[in-house]
Structures are given as structure tokens and as C-alpha cells.
């Protein structure tokens, strides 16, 4: 089992760095090439979500990312923001009319995560603070 861990300040500019690292680790872990675009997008969405939550709550805490290569390739993105509102979409997507751009992006991000990742879990942080988005992909 191999593990790569990183933490980053909640700044949009760093999300791309995490995407690059995520794809590099996934490729090394043997995730098929045709899934790498999905890994790239899902890792980016999970990190964008964490950055947006930290910024909304004025938190400077680092966002943590952990990638492990076990029988599956697992990515966990952990934020420190207080839980408010649904963590995953609860109903069919509403018409985007009438929502703010940020709200649309947030909803689309969650829609992409649920649409792209077969094994997606969103749960409270282990110490009761923040949320953990856990995604996994099978290696062939």
C-alpha cells in the first residue's frame, strides 16, 4: 500500500496542483487511462468544494488530501468547515434559473461528484468537525 498526503491553503490556485498530483498518483496506482479524466475532475471538484467552504466560513485551516493505493485507488479530501446544509444533492437537479452563480456551481460540483465517482461517501470529519469526501476507483 502506498500513500500520498498533502495539505494546502484554501486558495483556488492550489486546486490545480492537487489535480495534477491526484492524476499522477492515480496513474502510478494503475488506474486505467480512460478513467484519469474522471479522477482529475472529481479530485478538482472535491477540492474546489473544500476551498469554497473554508472561504465561506473565513477559515484559513489547511485542506487535507490523502491518496492511497490499496486494492482500490482512494482519495479523501478533508475540510474543516462546520456542516451546514446537505452535503450531497437530495433531489433531482433544479432548474438553474433563480440560483446564484455560486449556488449553481456548488450544486453542479456535487452533481459531477455523484455522477463521476462510483464509490462516493461524504461523512462528518472523524473529530466531528468538517466533512470528508471519500472517492475510490477500481484498478484493473
Amino acid at each position: 500500500m502506498a500513500t500520498v498526503r498533502l495539505s494546502f491553503s484554501p486558495e483556488p490556485a492550489h486546486v490545480r496542483t492537487v489535480r495534477l498530483v491526484g492524476v499522477a498518483v492515480a496513474r502510478r496506482a494503475g488506474v486505467p487511462e480512460d478513467l484519469l479524466d474522471e479522477v482529475r475532475l472529481a479530485v478538482g471538484e472535491a477540492c474546489s468544494r473544500a476551498v469554497a467552504l473554508h472561504q465561506r466560513h473565513g477559515l484559513r485551516d489547511l485542506v487535507a488530501v490523502e491518496m492511497t493505493d490499496t486494492s482500490d485507488f482512494v482519495v479523501r479530501v478533508i475540510d474543516r468547515a462546520p456542516a451546514d446544509g446537505p452535503a450531497v444533492p437530495t433531489g433531482p437537479l433544479m432548474s438553474p434559473d433563480g440560483l446564484s452563480e455560486e449556488a449553481v456551481a456548488f450544486g453542479m460540483g456535487l452533481a459531477l461528484l455523484t455522477g463521476l465517482v462510483d464509490n462516493l461517501e461524504v461523512r462528518r470529519g472523524t473529530d466531528g468537525v468538517g466533512t470528508e469526501v471519500r472517492m475510490s476507483w477500481q484498478q484493473r
Binding site: P12, A13, V15, R16, R19, L20, A24, R27, R28, E33, D37, R40, L41, G44, E45, S48, V51, A52, L93, S95, P96, D97, E101, E102, V104, A105, F106, M108, G109, A111, L112, G115, L116
Partner: protein, 255 residues
Amino acid sequence: MWLLAAGLVLVLAGGFGAAIGSATVARHRAQAAADLGALAGAMRAVYGSGVACAQARRIVTANGAEQSACRLDGLDVTVTARVRVAVGTASATSRAGSVPVAGGNSQLCEDLGGGRVAVADARWLDPERGSEPGRYRMDLSLSTRTVADHTVLQVGGEVDVYTAPRLRERLVELVDGGARKVVVDLGRVEFLDSTGLGVLVGAHKRLRAAGGSLALVCAREPLLKIFRITALDQVFPLYDSVDTATAAGVDGQAT
């Protein structure tokens, strides 16, 4: 920039059985697999031996051979491919190397022997900086032109949480400047995330409020999948080219 050239040197070929019939075919297959594997590996050399040799193995396997050895020295990749047949095993080794090219242009050449050289690929790509103008860029590029009575905004590179604000600014400028029939050409977009989708939805609403329309040009499957997953393919008219987008009416629907 990693504009590199690669010259392929076939260093040895041997170890196969009687050079008749299937053995000859096997030898040729092993050689082709080794050549292509080494080239493919060398193109990934900047990622290190793990990635380079994994890529070489994929190509060797796809060519019906087995990769028995792969080594990365600097940016040179040496691949040995093996093909088993009834009369024995054919194996071949190829080495694809690279040298930086002054002046910026690049070639990836394959020495076919007997003085024949094939140019396999014209570009190498640095994963960080990109090299081909307008494509594979890490950052966002925006350019506006007018086609008939449409304003076409060509977007290239990566639209994400970091770069999307610039796309939003440009779209707001266009609408404030009087543009009403806006076509956003996503043909050169390498990456699009939910923030980018939010910006497009915002522009769509702004234009509709002003009596205008927003159409998208998007033909690549990975991007189309994003629009399908988010059901935004029901919101935006999507076209496969700027021509079809500008030929459609103001409220034209996706074809």
C-alpha cells in the same frame, strides 16, 4: 519549455529462433512493439521511469508482445519486447532518446533503418507549461471575434475555480458592451469544472434578461459528458462547430 526531439536508435535485435515463417513474423512484431513502446515511453520520460515504462508496456502489449525489460536513462528509454511462437521466442530492443532542440521547433523521429526516417509526432508536451499554442495550456486563453451577427468567444486551456473569474469578467464585458448573440467556443478547453459551468449559467441568465442568447460549441465527449451529468445539456444549445452555432437562429436548439 520541454520542446524536445527524439531520435530512435535501434540498438540490437536478436535472440529469436529460426528465421523462417512465423519466426520472421514474430521478429517483426517484436521489433515493431519495441520501437513503438520505446517511442511512447520516451514521450513520457519527463514523468520518470514508472510512468514512462508503464506507457511503454501498454503500447508493447497492444502490439501483441510482452515487455521483458524497460530502462530509463536520463530521457532515453530502452525497451525490450518479446513475442513467443512455437519455434521459439523473438525479442527486439529499441532505444528512443531525446535531445533539446534549439530554436523551439521539435520533431520526434524514428529511424527505420536504411536511411529512412519517419516523423512520428511533431510535439512533446511539458505537463506543466504546455507547448502547442492554444492547446494543452495550463492557463486560460480568451479571444473574441465576430461571425455574422454573433460574438464568438473562443476559450482555451483550463476553466476551473482559479481561472473562471476571468471568463466571467470577459462575458460580463461582452454583454455590457452590447453583445446579444453570444457563442462560447469550448473547442480548445482542456478542463472544465463546476465553477466554469456556474459562470456559463450566469452568462446565460444575464443574456436572457437582456433579450439575448448564449450558445456553446462543444464536440468533445469528455466535455459533453459533464453537460449531460449536470443536465445542463437541457439548458444550453450545444453545437459541434462555430459554423452550425452561428447559422442557427437566436433561440436555436441543440441539433
